[in-house]
Structures are given as C-alpha cells and as structure tokens.
C-alpha cells in the first residue's frame, strides 16, 4: 500500500501563494478556511536579513495528535496513511483544531460568501456550497486530504500541480525509487516540529 507524502523545497519556494489559491479553487473552501497556507519568516536584522516563505498544509502524520484527541473516532487514517474526518461522526468540539501542531484544521459554522453582504449568491457559489456540504460539512472539523478526488482521477494534488516553481513533489514514501524518497535522502529533508512526535509525512528541503 502506498504511503503518500510530500516534499516542499524551500529553496524553490518564493512565496507566491499559488498553492493557497489552487487549494481554494480545487476544494471550494469558504472564507477563513486555508487547507494550504504560506507562512512568512525573517531571520537576522536589516541589512543582514533573509526572508523565507514556508508553505504549510496538513502533514498527514503517522501518529496524528488530532486523531488521538478526537473523542468520537471521527478522525481516522486511510489505508494509504491520509488522515481524514468522517463528517457524520464529528461533533465539532474543536479539540483537534487546537491539538494539531501545524494548525491545519479548520471549521466553519456556515458556508459564507466571499462577496459583501446583500449581494445575491451566484450559481457557482451555490454549487460550491453544495460540494462543501457533501464533502466537508459545516460545524465539523475539515482538513486537507491531499486532494482525494483528484488522486482518484490520477491527478496530483492541486497545490502540487499549480506550483510555478515546482517546489512541491508528491509521491509514495514507501517506494525507495520515488522522487520524494530520493529528494528526502539526498537533500537533507526535514519535518516541522519533530519534537512533538507526530511523525509528519510532509518533508521540507532546506532553503540554503
């Protein structure tokens, strides 16, 4: 069975937020929900300073804290290691949103429009709302699932496909010949917050 993971090359990432928009478009997430995000960091003091963008998403941990705190078993791991939420079991206690060391979970009370109040809701927004209700749901925890629908069609996750710098590589960590295994081994891949012991499956390559 595959064990899906991702590699994000920080040397290539220049912080264009394409992954954020690609994710929003592919998953029709409402305002305030960011399954893919970009964080900004700065090191040093001007003029000797460097800035760095850090794209983050659900790390699909091997030992997910969000699953450990879930009181109903709504959070579960797929056969291929993807951490998912069963919206029919989730009670919306928001415990997982705080327990996630990467802040990858979001929950909305209702699907709101991006446009100001009072404007009529467009047909496409209606469609997006329907898709969101069916797949993720309101009031319950939602998260990235490495674009499960796109993968079923044999396509890569949206954030990987739209990345103009090709900073993201998606693949099978179990396959020693895959590109991501090669990159992690040869380019000193590391994970975020290894100290919490969640064993993330999203690896990063150092910026320098």
């Amino acid at each position: 069975m595959a064990r899906y993971g991702m590699v994000i090359d920080l040397k290539r990432c220049y912080g264009c937020y394409s992954c954020v928009m690609g994710c929003k478009q592919a998953n029709r997430t409402p305002p305030g929900v960011f399954w893919a995000r970009v964080l900004r960091g700065e090191m040093g003091v001007y003029p000797n300073s460097v800035r760095q963008a850090l794209p983050v998403l659900c790390n699909q941990c091997e030992e997910p804290d969000c699953m450990k705190v879930c009181p109903t078993g709504a959070t579960y791991q797929d056969d291929d290691g993807i951490v998912r939420v069963d919206k029919d079991k989730c009670i919306g206690c928001k415990y997982c949103m705080m327990a996630c060391p990467y802040g990858a979970r979001y929950s909305v009370r209702e699907y709101t429009s991006y446009f100001p109040e009072g404007l009529p809701i467009s047909d496409y927004e209606k469609h997006c709302m329907q898709v969101w209700e069916e797949k993720s749901g309101c009031g319950v925890a939602t998260k990235c699932d490495f674009c499960i629908d796109r993968r079923a069609e044999g396509r890569e996750p949206a954030c990987v496909q739209v990345c103009p710098a090709k900073a993201r590589v998606f693949g099978d960590l179990d396959d020693p010949e895959s590109e991501i295994s090669y990159l992690i081994k040869t380019k000193r891949g590391f994970v975020l917050r290894p100290e919490v012991g969640t064993e993330p499956k999203v690896y990063y390559l150092p910026p320098r």
Binding site: R37, I91, K94, M98, L192
Partner: protein, 314 residues
C-alpha cells in the same frame, strides 16, 4: 535569545462558552467536595452546609454541560462521545461528568425526606464515590487542555492543580453565598470564609508559579505576556487578581461575616470565571521553526496578513 519577537497564533476556538463550562464544573465539583467533607467531618451540626454543597453539585455541572452542547459545531452527534472512552480526555471526561452527576443526584436524594437518615452507610459510600468523581470532574479539564501539544501555556502539570484550587475555593464561596439566605449558623459561615481565605492564599501561590513558569518557558512567553500585559490583561488584573483573589481575601480575613462574606463570595465566583477565561484566551500556539527561521502562525481571522517572527542570526 534576548531580542526574539515572539508572536503566536492565538487560539480562538475555545472562549467564553467553554470558560463558563469550566467555571460551572469547578463550582459544582468544589461545592460537592466541600459538602461531603462537611458531612463527614462536621457531623449533624453541619447538615445545612453539607446539603447546600451537595445540592449545588449536579445542577451546576448540568448547566455547564448545556454550555458545552452550545459550543459544539454538530451537536446532533454529541451522543457519540460516550462510544469511544479510550480515545481522548474529552471522551473520558464526559463519562466522568455523567458519573459525577449520577452520584450527586443519588446523594441529593439521600438528603431529601423519604430517604433522609435511614441509610447512613449507603449515603457515606455514595458520598465518597461522588467526591472522587467531583475531584476528577475538576481536574480532567486541566489534563484535557494540557494534552494540546502546541499550546505551551496549558502544557503543564500545574494547570489541573490551579483548576482544583480554584474549584474548591469557588465551591466554598458558592456555599457561603447561598448560606447567607438560609439558616446557617453565623460561626459556621465565618469558619468557611476563613478556610476559603487560606485556600485563596494557596491559589495565589499556584497562580504565581503557573505564570512564572509560563513566562520562563520560551514557547509560552507570548501567552504569559498576553495575560500580564496584553489583550487578556483586563480580565486577569481586574477579574482574577482584584475581584477573584485580593478583595475576597481581605474581606474574608478581616470581616468574614454577614454581607461582607456574601460580597466576597460573589466577587470570588466572578474571579473564578475570569480565571478560566484568562487561561483559555491567553493560550497561543507556539511558532513553527524551520531551518533557523521562526514562523509565527497568523491569526486565523487575519490570515491574509501573516504576522512575522524575528530571529537574530544564529
């Protein structure tokens, strides 16, 4: 790391509603504990005090549970929390509070007419079981918050202790307050107020250690600053320190009876609520570090404008 500018993402998921639950669970559990202790050690003289405490237990926790339901995003599924007790502190906690409410209800029934006095031993056994679950009801919330790895302010063994001390203190205060309107001997209320003053001293000590520890830990320093001088500071200094600790302490110590004790109890209860809110709203997630950079996670509500963390050259 002297010049590190720590900015964390403030947790916005659990706020007043959960604070009210934590407060009510604390009052209910603390009052029940006090009532049972008064019954066991005080004997028949203390029956009224014991009754007040025991009678407060179940309704407080029940109302608190309604607030919990109010906070749920999908309350229609709420029954599922009892299905998987092994999973998390939240699942275990719901079982604990239900058992507490059952024991508290039985204990309440023992004090009511048809059963009263008839089965002393059974009442004591239920009282002790109820006291154990009252204790668990109080401290499990501290463990539940402490399990959150990314929030360093809560990730400490002091949190259950703080909740326990505050719960017992607010429980005693609730008894003193209600005792004003019932036929409780003035000396007993004065003694309870004095005991509460001692508990308040201990609570101050625990709170100081808690905040000192939070400030000294680099990850939770942002949270500590939020509490001591940031957005949560009014709730902390006015609500917790003034209303919750200092004023009740001096009122109980130097006046200790009549309307002063009642006022001290009301202020102290308000302080207990503010303490829960301070702890919850003060919680900020630790920044993520990668390759020497520190990435503060932006507040979710202002996601489009991420905050920045600064790290001096290593």
């Amino acid at each position: 790391m002297g010049s590190v500018k720590m900015e964390g993402q403030v947790q916005v998921e659990w706020r007043w509603i959960i604070a009210i639950y934590l407060f009510l669970a604390g009052v209910g559990g603390g009052a029940f504990l006090t009532g049972v202790l008064a019954d066991i050690y005080g004997g028949p003289d203390w029956t009224t005090v014991s009754k007040i405490g025991v009678f407060l237990g179940m309704p407080c926790v029940l109302i608190g549970c309604l607030f919990l339901l109010l906070d749920l995003g999908s309350p229609i599924n709420a029954w599922r929390v009892w299905m998987k007790p092994k999973t998390s502190w939240m699942a275990r906690g719901t079982i604990i509070i239900v058992l507490f409410m059952i024991f508290a209800t039985i204990q309440t029934a023992f004090w009511v007419w048809p059963f009263s006095g008839s089965i002393e031993n059974a009442r004591n056994i239920v009282a002790i079981l109820g006291a154990v679950f009252a204790f668990l009801t109080i401290i499990y919330t501290g463990l539940l918050l402490g399990y959150n790895q990314p929030i360093a302010l809560w990730r400490t063994a002091l949190l259950p202790v703080l909740f326990l001390v505050s719960a017992v203190s607010t429980g005693v205060m609730a008894i003193v307050f209600i005792g004003q309107f019932l036929e409780v001997a003035e000396t007993q209320l004065a003694l309870l107020a004095n005991i509460d003053a001692m508990i308040l001293v201990f609570e101050m000590f625990v709170l100081v250690v808690f905040l000192y520890n939070a400030y000294r830990t680099i990850e939770s320093r942002f949270s500590a600053k939020r509490i001591l001088g940031g957005a949560v500071a009014p709730a902390f200094w006015l609500g917790v320190v003034a209303c919750g600790l200092l004023i009740p302490f001096f009122l109980e110590l130097f006046v200790g009876e009549g309307a002063a004790a009642g006022l001290a109890a009301v202020l102290g209860l308000f302080g207990g609520l503010c303490l829960r809110y301070t702890i919850l709203a003060g919680g900020a997630l630790d920044p993520i570090t990668a390759a020497g950079f520190e990435f503060a996670r932006a507040d979710r509500r202002k996601e489009s404008m991420p905050a920045m963390g600064k790290v001096p050259p290593s």
